[in-house]
């Protein structure tokens, strides 16, 4: 075995080149081997914001191999609703849907495993619904004045409901 050496502390994906020194008359074989450390799963240290409605742009911070990392991502926390109005609401169908309430968020790093679980809370989006009084007759006609009330619910800061607005017709 000839001269040997090692170095440490590189991030993954680092290109390493070893240039050996040798007498010009000698033939050499040079071998390099990467020795990998114990795979430590990432650890989520923060999730910001921790709640939102149908669409959220969020940051999460985690530590892996003693390095702090920050990632930014957009995610659609679609709300499952069988009666969702496709034209007016952000409807969700299939496995990508999440229900209202707590949703686990994990980070997976190839070669290191899956992180601990952080909790994101899906809340109701801001919804405005119209209530008509009195209701129309069987032929769908109203013979008297109709009051339309708009009810607002849900939402997350800074866009939230302030109260109920009424309009007459």
């Amino acid at each position: 075995m000839g001269p040997a050496g090692s170095n440490a502390g590189f991030c993954d994906g680092t290109a390493i080149t070893i240039n050996d020194t040798a007498p010009t008359a000698d033939a050499y074989n040079l071998s390099l081997v990467e020795v990998k450390p114990v795979a430590t799963p990432p650890n989520i240290t923060s999730l910001t914001p921790a709640s939102g409605d149908w669409y959220v742009s969020y940051d999460y911070r985690y530590r892996i191999w003693n390095h702090a990392r920050r990632e930014h991502s957009n995610f659609r926390w679609n709300i499952c609703d069988r009666d969702c109005l496709e034209q007016y609401e952000h409807c969700c169908h299939g496995s990508q849907c999440v229900a209202l309430g707590a949703v686990p968020v994990v980070v997976s790093v190839p070669g290191a495993g899956t992180s601990n679980s952080a909790t994101f809370t899906v809340v109701s989006p801001l919804t405005i619904s119209a209530l008509i009084s009195p209701l129309p007759n069987a032929n769908n006609w109203n013979n008297t004045n109709v009051t339309v009330s708009y009810a607002c619910s849900g939402g997350v800061p800074p866009v939230q409901c302030r109260g109920i607005a009424n309009s007459g017709d």
Binding site: M1, G2, P3, A4, G5, S6, N7, A8, G9, F10, C11, D12, G13, T14, A15, I16, T17, I18, N19, D20, T21, A22, P23, T24, A25, D26, A27, Y28, N29, L30, S31, L32, V33, E34, V35, K36, P37, V38, A39, I64, W65, N66, H67, G111, A112
Partner: protein, 66 residues
């Protein structure tokens, strides 16, 4: 034969094969060789060693070829 051991390595896989990442070899008939690899995990150690091919071995190999 020289045996080199490391602590804190990935011991997963068959006989600890998880500790081995990228490898590379190079050889030069005369003079210093150069070899490169790209690491696959943060905080990896890259261990390098060189073997001098003795002239008598080269002579034997050449004799075998004949």
């Amino acid at each position: 034969m020289t045996v080199v051991s490391f602590t804190g390595v990935d011991t997963t896989g068959t006989n600890g094969s998880g500790a081995i990442g990228a490898t590379a070899t190079a050889n030069a008939a005369a003079g210093a060789p150069s070899a490169s690899l790209t690491t696959t995990r943060a905080n990896s150690v890259v261990f390098a060693w060189a073997t001098i091919l003795q002239p008598k071995w080269r002579g034997l190999r050449e004799a075998t070829r004949r």
